[in-house]
Amino acid sequence: MTMSLAIDYAPLGKPLRQEASRDDLVKMGFMAVIGLYLIIALGAPLSIMLSKSFSTYRFDLAAFEFQVSDETGETWGAPVTADALNRELGSVTDSELATSSDGRLAATKFFKDFSFRSPVRYRIRGTTDDTAFLVGSALEKGTQWREYDSGTFRRVVLRPASSLGFDNFKTYFSTPALARSIYNSALMAAISTVVTISIAFALAYGLTRSCMPLKGLFRGILTIPILVPSLLPGIALVYLFGNQGVFKDWLMGYSIYGPIGIVIGSVFFTLPHAFLIILTALSVADARHYEAAASLKASKWRTFTTVTVPGARYGIVSAAFVVFTLVITDFGLPKVIGGQYGMLAVDIYKQVIGQQNFEMGAVVSVILLLPAILAFAVDRRMQRRQVALLSARAVPYAPKPNARLDGLCLAFCCLVSLFILGMITMCQIAAVVKFWPYDLTLTAKNFAFDLMDGGGWAAYGNSIKLALLTALFGSLVVFTGAYMVEKADGFRACRGVFHFLAMMPMAVPGMVLGLAYIFFFNNPSNPFHSIYGTMTILVLCTVTHFYTVAHLTALTALKQMDPEFESVAASLKQPFHRLFFRVTVPVCLPAILNIAIYLFVNAMTTVSAVVFLYSTNTKLASVAVLNMDDAGDIAPAAAMGMMIFYTNVAAKLIHALIARGLLTRTQAWR
């Protein structure tokens, strides 16, 4: 008898609240700390940058008033605005009035017969409270008259007024050289994506659907490009196909500097990413589909187009977006090999480092964010569906030997491996010979980094330090953060925001993050200003830059843990940190180590974000590659690139050893 159905509502009343336990407070504290971290390291800088892209700076001459005394310094003339003076003199043109946040305009420009030795005295004030000017480096503001002798007045410069609007974007789109970069970047990214995905698919197909030999070896070779900065393929291409390149003729008169170099280099450094994603997608193929196709007597080609490709379709789309984003946001490669071919990421660098035009840098950043965010959003959707595919119980597919297919796959894998090893070998040779290709005597002089600009061996030391700190601090923050997202019950809204923030870095290109950091941390009124120019900001930036993948790795590991562990610990009256350190961390140790090595390798190779943030004391190896290449020391640049490569290989080996050692000691239960 279910009469109860008719009155199925709870009585209104104040909803109960559980009393907070000490654990809850501790967890809340952790959440607050890590939430704050993500806001400081990501949310705040990005929003400042966004606002900067809409800020325009212009000298508002009507806002300054001057008064000039006679030779005695006693009798004063009538106050007159800078605007009025300029109309008379015409010393500053209208286009000179538009400036950047750093713009300065000498006050003496408005006084034709100014002499710094004259006894004439000057007064200056603003007509609004925000009007600002500098005397030397001291900032003055407001409507109060200030009086200076002519010697001091020489050092008075006017500061621009800022206003919000789309002017920066208008300027951007009306500058053909800049606007063209959008097209260039999109074109390069699109072509590289098509090429990379085709190659990656063929490779992954060979490794999963054929019985070719040496699969493990090829897998290893195909992941090599992850271990080097994206500058390195650029340098290799310069040596191979550049002006002195041995294979220059192969290009039939075309130059490697530009689109051709960008595409080849991009394929090189994006290939492992695409390959791994598609490999995963193909690995989960369901043998039953193939059996069904075979029983229907479907041809090989038909099986391929109706079973293989659709099965991996999410993987392919996901990989395509990853490659597109990587290429469009990469800075190192086009910087080295791009020549005069304008690309968005390089534009940011040029605007900021070359022209000190931060606002325009911010505009390019915002433009660069759009495709990255779009790609990210689409990719997330895809992944969600892929998960659904995975969870269906499938019978793994085991390929059968087929001499022709196996031979073909082997040949193709060899070809691609040759390409990858060739590029690396080229850099290796360039690093150890006197002068490629004319003098091939072995030498160590290219490793004498201290003799070149770029930072020397200290830069290499700094990179190792950065990588270690990033790996250590990063795995700590990321894993704890992921634990809070996954295991802290309650705080639902908090956890949602938190997860969103953790997913965001994936969509933020390194250049954009770096620039945002300048805006945020290089502001004297920011309480964290003191970390600007230190190793701390580099670690902060690098951890944040690579946060998402690490976060997802940690989440995956945590999701595999029984959700009742926390309940059991609570029922046994044990604080959650005991559970965390005795069970959660040991069980997730393999994942934590993977996060650490991922962060290490990326910290060694990254250029884009840190290139804005290093100081003379914190020069980095990857930046040194860039700067030495810029200065024409290409062989030392290659040598430094190879140092990064050796270090990463060594780190990978050590990681494997530690992982094995720890696993046998602490994970006997597996």
Binding site: M1, S4, L16, D23, D562, L572, Q574, V583, V587
Partner: protein, 391 residues
């Protein structure tokens, strides 16, 4: 409001109920007016329940009826929306899980995979001011209790499901909790182990005297283990009672149907003690019913008594009376289920509806019951239950 017709209790149940009524002390756990809703969905609907100290109570009901939700509210793992819970006189309604006094075993056991069996059991003992030696002694004692002394150094993954279950139990009782909560502790095991562990758990519970609540959707398990069963459906308590009460005197049709098997027929109350099924009158208790009320008549297959090939004259279909509820029935199908025969009968008096009856092997042999034969069966009037039926 949920009154079924009451039938005089059998002598044993009178005795048992009377005994309990006298000895039952003031409740150890008292739940009153408990509600739980997830958005618009009400998962627990005004639950009130008292449990005595040392009692073994089962929450029984179909999947999704709210058993786990109620258990988790008691544990403080999912706070109820409304309502109070008193444990041992202490109001624990809004206390966090760690401040309540209970041990819990989950369906998944949730054993820590990287700790040995001993470390798992010791987990709750550490950090409590006990010395290492004390802890080791207690762990050894618990391992002994659950009969796994030799396995202490192994890891959970190296044990069988049944062994893991016992370790989870040992871990839960290690801290000598006042209340033991078990959420479907046996459902991940195969049938044989399950029956074996039932007895072990029950024996252990008796030995420790710990008040225990077990969630299950297996009626057999509940009947075998519980002192009292709380039958739930759609977030409401349908009935609370001892296994025999629940089985013999279900208060609602749901309970009757959920516990054991039933034959159900639409019926109509004719007069005091008389009910009409199809076109025949049967006698049974009609307490709480008025003449003319529609009802559902229920009889369990095991309660039907075979009387052998019988006097066809008395039982002609035209006569609307069935003295002593005797009817003729034709045996359509017989299925041998080991302990008894399950037969499908059709009786003209029941409008040729199928009547399922379970006959003992003896009776079948003695009365020579076989497929196609016609026999006389009795539906004992005290075993014919009436439940209200919506008009």
């Amino acid at each position: 409001m949920r009154h079924a017709m009451s039938i005089e209790p059998t002598p044993t149940s009178i005795h048992r109920d009377a005994g309990q009524a006298v000895t039952r002390p003031s409740p150890y756990l008292e739940i009153s007016d408990l509600w739980k809703s997830y958005g618009d969905f009400v998962a627990l609907h005004d639950i009130s329940l008292s449990i005595a100290k040392g009692e073994f109570v089962c929450f029984l009901g179909p999947s999704g009826c709210g058993k786990t939700t109620l258990l988790r509210a008691i544990a403080g793992l999912d706070l109820q929306s409304q309502g109070t819970i008193l444990q041992d006189g202490r109001n624990i309604s809004t206390l966090p899980a760690s401040k309540r006094d209970y041990g819990i075993v989950f369906q998944s056991y949730a054993l820590f995979p990287n700790l040995t069996i001993e470390q798992n059991i010791a987990f709750g003992l550490e950090n409590t001011g006990r010395s290492k030696a004390e802890i080791a002694a207690r762990v050894a004692e618990l391992l002994e209790t659950v009969g796994l002394s030799a396995q202490g150094k192994k890891y959970p993954a190296q044990l069988s499901g049944g062994q893991q279950q016992r370790i989870a139990l040992a871990r839960a009782i290690a801290i000598s909790p006042g209340l033991l909560l078990l959420d479907e502790p046996l459902s991940a095991l195969d049938a044989k182990v399950r029956v074996h562990l039932r007895h072990e758990i029950k024996a252990l519970q008796r030995k420790l005297g710990v008040t225990t609540i077990m969630v299950t959707h297996d009626q057999e398990e509940a009947l075998a283990m519980a002192d009292r069963i709380v039958v739930m459906n759609h977030g409401v308590i349908e009935q609370v009672g001892s296994p025999t009460q629940i089985y013999r005197h279900p208060e609602t049709l749901f309970v009757a149907d959920f516990i054991g098997e039933t034959n159900q027929f639409p019926a109509k109350v004719m007069s005091q003690g008389q009910v009409e099924i199809v076109h025949s009158a049967f006698s049974c208790s009609t307490q709480d019913f008025a003449a003319g009320d529609p009802a559902t008549a229920v009889v369990r297959p095991v309660d039907i008594i075979p009387h052998g090939a019988g006097a066809h004259a008395v039982n002609s279909v035209d006569r609307p009376v069935t003295p002593q509820n005797l009817i003729d029935a034709e045996v359509q199908e017989m299925e041998f289920l080991g302990m008894f025969w399950r037969t499908r009968l059709t009786a003209p008096r029941l409008g040729d509806r199928t009547l399922i009856a379970d006959f003992s092997v003896n009776a079948v042999r003695r009365l020579n019951i076989e497929t196609g034969g016609v026999i006389q069966v009795e539906i004992p009037k005290e075993r014919l239950l009436l439940f209200p039926r919506g008009a």
